[in-house]
């Protein structure tokens, strides 16, 4: 573990200082303008199905864990959604490599308050990033949030419900599906894997990958099974579940 940390590229923790947030994974970064997620923008993360919600959450947390550590992260998770997908766990954040003491959890009781909280957090320029969860979002509101994020030059990651097809002003939209975890040679769980689909990227091009995430090194890498043609060239929309199952098994 020590060695892994030593091997980390020094600039990894400088992410956030400039305006681009790279994944450190050429396959992904190549699809994005300037080789990374634009910092001051709205990014939508949508689970491929209701079941993939933990995976979508995990992807967000993994991405945040890579950001610079100097400022807190604000999680705006409405209290009324807690029943559906459980509550965020500090130990769980810790196992994904995100220091839970950096996280500030805000639990608004109403949808309007959720939107207000996100805008307020962005405007204050205090956090490193803002994460929110919103069920409905019209174009106007998404534009407003996007502008607020752009003004503050902070990323706003918005977790949306599985069936959200509205137009929005988001710079990127990710659809996250589940994938079989990476296991070591004894068959023990080692790293989570997710099936990422970049549905829309402003000034970028869409793509689809199965990535795994190493919480110790805060590093994304392509799952070894990417060679499976079912994933890299397979049909995309509506077949995510099948795709990632193929990816896992081969």
């Amino acid at each position: 573990m020590q060695e892994l940390r030593r091997l980390l590229p020094a600039r990894l923790y400088q992410i956030g200082a400039d305006k681009i947030l790279p994944f450190g994974l050429a396959a992904l970064d190549d699809c994005l303008p300037h080789g990374g997620l634009p910092c001051g923008a709205l990014h939508e993360v949508v689970p491929a199905s209701e079941k993939a919600l933990p995976a979508a959450f995990g992807f967000i947390v993994a991405f945040l864990a890579r950001l610079a550590r100097s400022r807190p992260l604000i999680f705006v998770l409405p209290a009324y959604e807690r029943r559906r997908h459980g509550r965020l766990s500090g130990h769980g954040l810790n196992s994904l490599g995100l220091d839970p003491s950096r996280a500030i959890l805000v639990e608004p009781g109403h949808r309007n308050e959720t939107l207000w909280t996100m805008a307020e957090a962005l405007r204050s320029a205090a956090p490193q990033a803002v994460v929110g969860s919103v069920d409905r979002l019209d174009l106007k509101t998404s534009q407003r949030l996007h502008l607020a994020a752009a003004d503050a030059r902070l990323p706003l990651l918005l977790l949306r419900p599985a069936r959200s097809l509205e137009a929005s002003a988001a710079a990127t939209r990710w659809r996250i599906g589940t994938a079989e975890a990476a296991r070591d040679r004894f068959g023990l769980y080692m790293r989570p894997r997710w099936h990422l689909q970049l549905e829309r990227a402003r000034n970028g091009r869409p793509g689809e990958w199965v990535v795994e995430y190493d919480h110790v090194a805060h590093r994304f890498s392509l799952a070894a099974t990417l060679a499976d043609p079912a994933v890299s060239h397979g049909p995309s929309v509506g077949a995510e579940d099948r795709g990632c199952r193929h990816a896992g098994r081969s």
Binding site: A55, I74, Y189
Partner: protein, 527 residues
């Protein structure tokens, strides 16, 4: 004031004719007695404390209502709160003082009104307009003021400083707020006035009567202190503004509040402190007081920040609907302050070469401040418990292993800075689910090859999952030192289904030893 309270209570029930004798009766041993009465009843020769039957005999067609001690107390508290517009230290009387008035500590406040006599004249005028017949007295000590307000013929009295001994001499013993027993004892000895006690040898009194007597005497004469119990914590810093024209709108209130904050900032800077808890008192024209308290995450002296918080709070409270005819005075108090060293704001950033460490320290400070400001703002709008952070709890049970705590100002020293070594969160030995269900939910129809083996198939929330791989068990024993009843042991499994969804399941109870049919639960979801 007793009459006024009586009238007020009467107004709440069926109509009472204030021109005719009216009394409030309280139950006591030997039948109800008159507790309070109006002027007409007084004119009819009734006395407080006499049996109700006698009173009925003296005045024909006497109107009687029961005493409502709670309402009296609430009314007194409301009035006392209103009186904080004169001075921050206002103490309602407890039972030992008669519970029908309050003390105001006007030291240092009287000059704002042009002297003590002007102050009590103004106070009397306002009370009169509320319909309260009040007796007011100003003296060096609370005890002397109480005595004079009760037993001096003049309803408005300012006693020159240092004259309480002379003024009290003529007053009856009752002016010392003594228990009935002590009063009777003194009467039997033929001691009728306070003058008979002053400057007499103390030892015989101390031997004969409860310590009460000499204490009350000394308190009245100012030989010992009498601590007042103020209705609201006396502020550390206080600024009050009387308005010529009552204000009604939230914007006006916020504007006034920021003016008051401006007044306070000088003092705060002088003392090197920042406000942690602020209290805004809005004095309504009709005597009611709205109190808005704001707790801050970190000490602050920033006027716009405070103004913004009050604006948010007012919005959330919608207190303004209750403005009535408007607010005629507004007071801002700092009830808790914390040291806040003066910090040099960036001076000519490009010049010289600031040591890198200093600059980053400055940035950290700035960041922590902005963070505190954000949390304050969120709290005002969403409520104090909706903004929290994670804190680990030393427990083996996953549902108890962490908690959410409110954020205080110290949180930011650990947040800011690169070298954040938070040792409190243990390095995860086993993977831990990202999402915990609020309560572990039972998994049904669990199939396992052997009773103590991992599950092969289970149903949760109406969906059946086929397990592709399970890892475990991680055995977590009950915390026998916490519970008297031994709780079953849990075996945790990290389970992945064919679709790649990862669950945290546990089996409750050791097969064969603790239970014959183990139950399964889903407790968390892995990313």
């Amino acid at each position: 004031m007793a009459q006024a309270l009586a009238q007020r209570i009467a107004a709440a029930g069926t109509p009472v004719d204030p021109e005719r004798p009216f009394v409030l009766a309280a139950a006591s041993s030997g039948g109800p007695r008159v507790a309070a009465l109006n002027e007409a009843a007084e004119a009819a020769g009734l006395m407080p404390g006499e049996p109700l039957a006698d009173a009925r005999a003296k005045a024909d067609f006497l109107q009687v209502r029961g005493v409502d001690a709670k309402a009296d107390d609430a009314a007194l508290r409301r009035l006392t709160l209103w009186a904080t517009r004169y001075t921050p230290t206002a103490a309602p009387w407890q039972d030992d003082n008669g519970a029908d008035g309050f003390f105001l500590d006007v030291e240092g406040a009287a000059h704002l009104f042009g002297g003590e006599d002007r102050l009590i004249a103004e106070l009397a005028g306002r009370l009169d307009r509320f319909g309260l017949a009040a007796r007011l007295a100003v003296a060096d000590t609370a005890g002397a003021a109480w005595a004079l307000s009760h037993f001096h013929p003049s309803p408005l009295l300012v006693l020159p400083s240092g004259r309480q001994a002379a003024a009290l001499e003529e007053l009856p013993i009752a002016a010392l707020r003594l228990s009935a027993e002590t009063r009777n004892g003194l009467r039997r000895l033929g001691l009728k006035t306070v003058g008979a006690l002053i400057d007499k040898p103390r030892a015989p009194f101390a031997a004969r009567f409860a310590a009460d007597l000499l204490r009350r005497l000394d308190q009245a004469l100012g030989r010992i202190d009498e601590p007042l119990v103020p209705i609201v914590a006396p502020p550390l810093y206080h600024s009050l503004n009387y308005l010529f024209e009552p204000i009604v709108t939230a914007a006006a209130v916020v504007a006034r509040a920021s003016r008051l904050m401006q007044n306070l900032v000088h003092v705060l800077v002088r003392d090197d402190v920042g406000a942690r808890i602020l209290r805004l008192c809005l004095y309504r024209v009709d005597g009611a007081v709205e109190t808005i308290e704001i707790a801050l995450t970190a000490p602050t002296r920033s006027i716009p920040h405070v103004a913004r918080l009050f604006a948010l709070k007012l919005e959330a409270l919608a207190a303004m609907e209750d403005a009535g005819f408007g607010f005629e005075a507004i007071g801002l108090a700092v009830t808790r302050a914390e040291p806040m060293p003066a910090r040099q704001i960036e001076f000519a950033p490009s010049s010289a070469s600031p040591a890198d460490g200093n600059e980053s320290a400055w940035k950290d400070n700035d960041r922590a401040e902005r963070c505190a400001a954000l949390i304050d703002a969120l709290r005002q709008r969403l409520g104090p418990t909706s903004v929290r952070r994670f804190a680990p709890v030393p427990s083996h049970l996953p549902e108890q292993a962490e908690t959410l705590t409110e954020i205080d100002g110290n949180a930011f020293s650990s947040l800011s800075g690169e070298g954040n070594k938070n040792g409190a969160w243990p390095e995860p030995a086993q993977p831990h689910p990202l999402l915990l269900l609020p309560q572990a939910e039972p998994a049904e129809d669990v199939m396992a090859l052997i009773p103590e083996g991992p599950p092969r198939r289970f149903r949760w929330r109406g969906v059946t999952y086929d397990v592709a791989g399970a890892q475990g068990p991680e055995r977590i024993g009950a915390e026998w030192w916490r519970h008297r009843e031994p709780e079953p042991t849990r075996d945790y499994y990290l389970v992945e289904d064919l679709g790649g969804q990862r669950f945290w399941l546990y089996r409750e109870g050791l097969y064969g030893r603790e239970t014959a049919a183990a139950r399964w639960f889903v407790q968390g979801l892995f990313a």
